[in-house]
């Protein structure tokens, strides 16, 4: 009999617990009947700390002026860690932000893993036709839209005009010219000509495209990194370092690259609009006119730079979807984009923003706009965000002489085939 009592009590307790779990009322913000937004929106921003982040924090907190009951929590997460940090938090279901600034290649991956909320028909996505086609491409996955384009970018050569003048050289347009220019700069000023970032495979792409190669070909499902072009591109970067035309690092690449360029220890680097604000803080660029940008040098086959950028995506597990949608809309509006361009020289993703006054007269935008239009798009498949990890290991190994270009691309290709089931 006593056992019966216990069992009954147990069942009752379980039933109670189940109903408690089930009645999931949105107590944590959301929209009230009056239509006023409230609650907290946490935003993980991945912009360059120390320069871009101040501006984005200010703009993000401006959202609170429009919606006094919403509290925006701005968090700057280092770009290099953000992808894994978000995946860890999103999967655990705790500690993930409401809104994440998702790099274009991460967006399909996050969407495929089920971490992102679909945005079609929500207030987050306004005037969809206004977005540049290239920018919108990465936000689509399986016929739905999972993010809103925030900025778009590509890469170019940043050079120090004063150093070029001192050495009496012109901007190089090919890899061979890059080497001769470097030599002259070394002879005249004693400084290294070019900084090649060696710990991030994104910086390898323009050399790969320059030899007519690519990582994968999504159209006919083949892995192309280990073609002859891939080998050649690896040889090109290795030769730049070995011949002394370029210097590189296996660790802390971003910090070392920016520091060397800002102090005038190197005359050139390949970089994108996201580095402009930080570069202007350097002692060589107190006079902003000293910074020149030019298209990346072409290789033996072509001239190409990767198309990149960032989207804003909403976490599917957010407790405050309504306010998050509104926040994403606010951050990607024409007005916000024009302000971002004015302060940071980043490229808007809305066509109409390019007609705004601060954007029209911006030199950096003027230079990068055509570059972006001709930039190489990566395939927006879930695996795109996974292609860099195997490549960067081998890329660094080549630069530090631990493996040959042939072996490096072979190893990379093999791990791509493991990743992309059934690709050739």
């Amino acid at each position: 009999m006593r056992r019966g009592i216990t069992a009954t009590a147990l069942v009752a307790a379980l039933a109670l617990a189940a109903t408690a779990c089930g009645s999931d009322d949105k107590s944590d913000g959301g929209s009230k009947s009056s239509g006023e937004l409230s609650g907290t929106v946490t935003w993980w921003d991945t912009s360059t700390a120390g320069s871009e982040d101040k501006v984005f924090k200010k703009i993000a907190e401006g959202f609170e002026k429009l919606h006094p009951k919403v509290d925006v929590k701005y968090v700057n997460v280092p770009f290099g860690d953000a992808q894994n940090k978000f995946k860890n938090a999103a999967q655990a279901g705790s500690g993930a932000p409401d809104v994440i600034r998702s790099e274009v290649a991460w967006t399909p991956e996050f969407a495929d893993l089920g971490y992102l909320a679909p945005l079609d028909g929500t207030p987050a996505l306004q005037k969809e036709s206004d977005f540049l086609k290239q920018a919108a491409a990465s936000t689509k996955y399986n016929g739905k839209t999972y993010a809103v384009p925030q900025v778009i970018d590509s890469m170019g050569i940043f050079y120090n005009k004063k150093m070029f003048k001192a050495a009496g050289v012109e901007v190089p347009t090919t890899i061979d010219e890059l080497k001769t220019v470097s030599k002259k700069i070394k002879a005249k000023t004693g400084k290294t000509g070019f900084y090649l970032r060696g710990d991030d495979a994104y910086w390898f792409l323009s050399f790969l495209y320059g030899e007519g190669g690519d990582m994968v070909n999504a159209a006919d499902k083949t892995v192309t990194i280990d073609d002859a072009a891939g080998v050649k591109a690896m040889k090109v970067v290795k030769d730049l370092v070995d011949s002394g035309a370029a210097k590189t690092d296996a660790t802390d690449g971003w910090d070392n690259m920016q520091a060397s360029f800002k102090n005038g220890d190197v005359a050139m680097m390949i970089n994108g609009p996201w580095a402009v604000a930080d570069t202007y803080t350097g002692k060589e660029f107190q006079d902003k006119a000293n910074l020149g940008v030019a298209p990346v040098p072409s290789g033996s086959a072509a001239q190409g730079a990767p198309q990149g950028g960032h989207n804003l995506a909403v976490y599917a597990g957010s407790k405050n979807l309504d306010a998050s949608y509104a926040f994403v809309d606010y951050m990607t509006s024409v007005k916000t984009q024009a302000q971002v361009t004015k302060e940071l020289n980043l490229l808007p993703t809305r066509t109409s923003a390019y007609a705004e006054e601060p954007v029209v007269n911006n030199e950096i935008v003027g230079f990068f706009k055509p570059v972006v239009e001709s930039a190489v798009e990566r395939p927006w498949i879930p695996e795109t965000g996974s292609l860099f990890a195997p490549l960067v290991t081998e890329y660094t190994k080549v630069l530090t002489g631990q493996t040959t270009p042939e072996k490096a691309v072979k190893t990379t290709g093999d791990s791509y085939r493991k990743l992309l089931k059934g690709w050739k």
Binding site: K87, D112, G114, A250, T251, S386, P390, T393, L419
Partner: protein, 338 residues
């Protein structure tokens, strides 16, 4: 309720219940032996139960789960997850020992294991040697002894990641202090963390620097516990300083040194922060040890490969268990009681 838990505890702890001598019957166990044991020692089991439960939750569950995952093909794409409106069921399947055969036949595990062994042996032997030397120096009466002791314990007092980051700044290629000093002496800077071989030496140096204080303090304690009569007697017999060290100090230190070497080996084998924060296992994979590589599988590659990571984790555990067992056995044959 209490009866239930204690019963399971008995099973978990093996049912060799030690009985009190006064109640020992010596007969073959009658039926209901467990019940008898419980009635005799119920208080002991009740006292032990919370500990067993806590250990089971904190260590047992993750261990079993890790072993289970290493027998599947679980990764980020196929584990169950429910995020807000999206509910995705688990689709990973059981693959038996495939992960283990892959690990043990592939180059990556064995290559990483090779470097991990080199790293462990060199770190432990160098720290032990330096610790021993310093302990012997500080065991004498020298002026300012306590100041030296304090200074030498400092690396241990600073949080590990702080010291590692400080070293990372020192090692920086263009702006690090070490290369600036070399440049001042007219020598070309060394690529401390960029060249595979030098990077290996660099991480060992940092780990030795971090590990010496522990060795020194432990051995100093051991030295002070050696009775001075032994030294006096040795001196009376005309033993030289080296002979005194060889035949009095070393045997006297044995209990301490065997323990610190075992501990230090296990710690160094799994020394995650130094490698991770200094080089991230780079350049390439040159300084990747087993633990950091297992972390990389689970948190850095995408899709995150939980199965392979667990496999490496289990293999690390097995290796350390084998090492500890052999080590203890060797000591026991040498007449050391543990």
């Amino acid at each position: 309720m209490a009866v239930h838990t204690s019963q399971s505890v008995v099973k978990a702890a093996g049912d060799d219940v030690a009985r009190g001598r006064s109640r020992g019957t010596g007969n073959p166990p009658p039926p209901g032996r467990i019940r008898r044991a419980l009635s005799t020692h119920w208080y002991a089991w009740t006292m032990v139960a919370p500990v067993v439960v806590v250990i089971g939750v904190i260590i047992g569950y993750p261990l079993v789960r890790g072993i289970y995952l290493s027998l599947t093909d679980a990764n980020e794409r196929n584990v169950a997850r429910s995020i807000g409106v999206n509910h995705l069921p688990a689709t990973y399947k059981f693959v038996g020992l495939d992960n283990y055969t892959d690990a043990l036949t592939g180059n990556q595990f064995l290559g990483t294991l090779g470097w991990t062994l080199v790293w462990t042996v060199s770190c432990v032997s160098i720290t032990f040697g330096l610790g021993m030397a310093l302990a012997n120096i500080l065991n004498r009466k020298i002026a300012g002894r306590s100041a030296y002791r304090m200074a030498l314990i400092l690396p241990w007092a600073v949080p590990g990641f702080v010291s590692v980051f400080a070293w990372r700044f020192l090692y920086n290629n263009d702006r690090g202090l070490l290369n600036k000093v070399l440049a001042g002496g007219g020598i070309d800077g060394i690529n401390w963390l960029g060249d595979p071989t030098i990077a290996k030496i660099s991480v060992i140096v940092v780990n030795v620097w971090l590990g010496v204080p522990f060795m020194m303090v432990a051995l100093l304690g051991g030295l002070q516990s050696i009775p001075s009569e032994q030294y006096e007697a040795a001196e009376m017999d005309g033993a030289t300083a080296w002979q005194r060290f060889r035949h009095v100090t070393l045997p006297g230190l044995r209990p301490v040194s065997t323990t610190v070497i075992l501990l230090s080996t296990i710690w160094t084998f799994n020394m995650f922060p130094v490698i991770f924060l200094l080089t991230r296992g780079g350049p390439g994979e040159a300084t990747q040890i087993l633990v950091t590589q297992a972390y990389k599988f689970s948190f850095e590659v995408s899709p995150r490969d939980f199965a392979q990571s667990s496999t490496w984790g289990v293999l690390i555990l097995v290796l350390l268990l084998i090492f500890a067992t052999i080590y203890r056995r060797v000591l026991r044959t040498q007449g050391d009681d543990w």
